[in-house]
């Protein structure tokens, strides 16, 4: 398989994630879609690492996954607190910062 065709997978994942982030109402869904974007970025790191034969790209993926896991935990915690407070986890129903 052509290595570069994996870029299309990456673009597809990113677009899917972006679409999910913008269109999902549920905050959980947004976070999950966000993961897709992360994955597309990580995939890019992996591809370039392979092309340039440089292992630091793969190392970056490891770090990235770790950081993403931590960040997602934080995100979930915020959503849970939001739900306790507002009895909803829909992002469009929380707009107290409306101008």
């Amino acid at each position: 398989m052509e290595l570069k065709s994996l870029f299309f997978l990456s673009i597809f994942l990113f677009s899917l994630g972006l679409y999910g982030v913008l269109s999902r109402r549920n905050a959980m869904g947004i976070l999950i879609a966000l993961e897709l974007i992360f994955n597309s970025a990580n995939l890019n790191f992996g591809i370039f690492s392979k092309i340039h034969a440089n292992p630091s790209g793969v190392m970056t993926i490891l770090f990235g996954i770790g950081i993403t896991a931590a960040e997602i935990v934080l995100g979930f915690a915020i959503v849970i607190l939001l739900f306790r407070l507002r009895k909803t986890s829909n992002a469009d129903e929380v707009h107290i910062l409306r101008g």
């Binding site: 972006l18 982030v21 913008l22 269109s23 947004i30 992002a91 469009d92 929380v94 707009h95 107290i96 910062l97 409306r98 101008g99």
Partner: protein
Amino acid sequence: MDLGLLAFIAWWAPFFSFLIIGVFIRKYGKLSAALSIIAISISLISSIVILLNIRALENPVLKDIVWLPFGTKKGLAGPESIFFGLFLDNLSAIMLFIVALVAFAVQVYSIGYMGEETPPSLGRYYAYHSLFAFSMIGLTFSKSILQMFVFWELVGVCSYLLIGFYYYKPEAARAALKAFWITKLGDVGFITGILILYFKFGNLDIFKLINDPAILKSAGGVASVILMLIFCGAIGKSAQFPLHIWLPDVMEGPTPVSALIHAATMVAAGVYMVSRLFPVFREFPDVMWIITILGAFTAFLAATMALVQEDIKRVLAYSTISQLGYMMAALGAGSLVAGFFHLFTHAYFKALLFLGAGAAIHAVHSNSIWDMGGLFKKAPITAITFGIATLALAGIPPFAGFFSKEEILVATYSYANKIPFYLLLITVFLTAFYMGRAYTVAFFGNPRSENAKHAHDPDLSMKFSLVLLAIFSVFAGFYAGKISHLLEYLTAHEAIEHHGGLNLTVLSLSFALIGLLSSYYIYARAPQVADNTRERFSFVYTMLQRRYYIDDLFEWIYRRIILGLSAFAGWWDRHIVDGLVNWVIYTTARLGRSLRVIQTGIVQDYLFYIALGSIVLLVLILRGF
């Protein structure tokens, strides 16, 4: 004896009285009165002691502290510094006596006259009086012109407070404001003159100025302008044309206050200032000429207005303006002695006239001379003392006014231009006539009102003051030689040629006598003459009644021009300046309103914008901008 210390005591005693009354004992009227009178007595006694030891004053007593240090070097104030201090010489010693005596007489008189006031009101009255005496004495002793200006303004404030003493009367409040504003108009010139003088010559010290007028003389035109500006202050304060309009309104205050203001304090300040700086003024004939002609014209103008007044205090008020004109004319004609001597004598008989008028008003409860009449029999002491003052004002020997007026006529007669002399000579007749009219109507004949039938002499304190001032009105004239001798050091170059002296005396005396007798004849025996004249020359009568429309002119200027300008400024501020600010506010608010719609508060919208922005950026980058 240390005369400087005495002068200092005379100066500050009334101030401490003011302080104590104002802070502690204002609520106790009688106590305040007593304290104030004690303080002014101290001043009076000090001034008498100074006068008795006046020989010791051959060299002026100068004491000062640095007030505003300028050009300081090594902790020492530079020569441009302004000093605050005491300048005691013959002139200020005599002036101190005038102020202290009249203030004393007025304060004693006020015990009786203001007896019906409530205690706090009486305390306030005496506090003002003490402050007034302090300010005027401070002005007298001023060492620098700036210090003089400060006390000058203090005098103005005190007269404002006292004229407006019955502040709940709208006319009184109005008169107080009028006096304050009109004199301020002149003071603007005064302070401008002081500033130019300081920046041009770096010297405001009166002693230095009068001892070395040549410095100013060598500067020429600009010095003339400075002196003219300084004289503007005197025009306002001493009620010279065209700023005389405030003085007649002073009568809205209590009568003793009028006596004080008209005689020794407020209006005397202008004449005193010119006398003080006389050696400087003398060096500038063009300024002197203006002073003379303005003084003579004022004297004449005011005398004509006095002819038709019905309020006894108004008659006296116009006569004050007229007599101040005399003083100014004499000073301008180059005779310090004549001008200052008239100030000296005038202070006594004018204070006496006002106090006498106050006694008459007190007796009949009306200001109009047509409500009085026949007071000679009912209130003999009032009538006799008032009569003495009338004769003194008219210039009948041996009363004080005769001598001083004589000197003034001689001085103006020997002046190059004869117009002031003739104006003043006619005014002698007019003065005698209007005073004769007022006296005849008020004191002779039959009582013209119910109250006048039950009139009586005032109580002891008022009588005391009347008699005290009457004595001075009789004898002050004999000090002509003494005063001219005392002022010699200021008038070294003054050379009055007494040519035509006797003829002049006869002339002015006959004018005065004709005035007095004709007025007596007309108002006591043939009142129809007055009525006929009034009807025949009704337009003149109206013009005099309307005071030559000068007040109307001022009012017109105020209403049309000043208020118009204010209205325009107000419109400009409200519409142009505020409009600009409002436009900025409005635009900002509008912009904010139209931009707030994109702040939805929904996080996904923001993400959408970010994504959109990123795509746009991406496209731009790919196209290489």
